[in-house]
Amino acid sequence: MTTAVTEVGEGPLAGRTVAIKDNTAVAGVPMMNGSPYLEGYVPLRDATVVTRLLGAGATIAGKAVCEDLCFSGGSHTSRPAPVRNPWDESRSAGGSSSGSAALVAGGVVDVATGGDQGGSVRIPSAYSGTVGHKPTYGLVPYTGAFPIEQTIDHVGPITRTVSDAALVLSVIAGADGLDPRQPLGLVPEDYVGALARGAEGMRVGVVAEGFGHPNSEPEVDDAVRAAVDVLRGAGLVAEEISIPWHAHGARIWDVIATEGAMVQMVEGNGYGMNWEGLYDPEVMAHYGGRWRADGSDFSETVKLVLLAGGYAVDRHHGRHYAMARNLAPRLRAAYDEALDRFDVLVMPTLPMRATVRPAPGAPREEVILRALEMIANTCVTDVTGHPACSVPAGTPGGLPVGMMIIGRHFADATVLRVAHAFEQAVGGFPAPPRTAAATRS
């Protein structure tokens, strides 16, 4: 949906166009969150990130369509229509911030916002060839974005360059006093200024468990290993490291995201209860009233969440959610131990390149597989909260591959410095052929 909202004519984002993921409220502009249950809903207040972007001089060019309730890593579940990948329109743009990445990659807007609970900033960035930064949990307020599960909700920038990601992050980071996800005493870094410090001499841990998944494409693993060699050539020191808990991370995420989303996103009508902060009573009533009248319009992935989560909670009353949450600090500690030795960790963002989108009416099996098959590496840092940035690492066969760079909690600037060093070493990231041709003409 296009619009044009500008509040001030000056600031670090003056003259820059932004697309806001359509799970995030822009007052007066309809918000659908990819779901028929939100159709007709118009937010009354801006999300914090929207207020901050407008205050920095940005022009909101429109809302970017996203996947149905943001529960898909493929771009085929969004209502009213699927999102096409600018590199190959038959393929997935990635989700759930599908429209955000496609609009940025296609050169339609300068930058965009995305949300990330299982990889939804980084997945479309990897598939569509953009930079996607999932900030440290709590660094950017989630206030005004439609929640999935409060312990894994993140908002972050999707951009064409690392310097733009740093710029947007510098605008949207920091406490707003309304979001319980944020820690006390939060002080953001100077993300833009940090880039000038370079990354020479930094230590890079190449996480063995991030490669060679059963569904990994060799082209992807090879491209990321080649990207690591580029970092070595730029003066960074890279070594392989094993983090066995990485392989458990997706299992822990499965339980948290399934039972947690069932309780908060569905039964709690998005917001749930029992926390201090800013709620959106209007969206709770709109969405809650609609799905409770007829639940058959949930996407196939959300139906799966409800069947599995509903069954598990019926049998065990949330015991496994509690155990998974109690395991999250152990998972985080495994990463922290690795990050004691290395400044950043890297691995492929996704095991594969963009897949062909399921056709309308495709079998349920294909719809679900294409939505969830790619999250094994990304979802882990949604549980641990570490910052993670996906950068384009190559285009084997004409399709982008993402390399994910992970850093210590609240060391987002370090992650971006390494991303920037890589971007400079490869001479910038490529645009999709049609966009590149349009830029030249």
């Binding site: 339980v255 058959s296 949930f298 019926d314 065990h316 152990r330 099996e365």
Partner: protein, 74 residues
Amino acid sequence: MPLDPPAPDALRAVAKRYGLGLSDADITSFDPFVSGLLASWDTVEELYAASAPVRPSVRGSAPTTPPTRTAPGT
């Protein structure tokens, strides 16, 4: 305690509770995905068992005499 695989009736009951409008054939087609996803519950159970706190051997006990009666409503 591992999670038992869901019986079709159990999934039907969940689907009905949320008004998902799923037929028996739909439930059957979801079953492998549900079972595959629920394998993660077993992994979490095993990981947790390896690190769960040990129950204290003796720390307090149930009273051996009946508790003092209190007036209704207090």
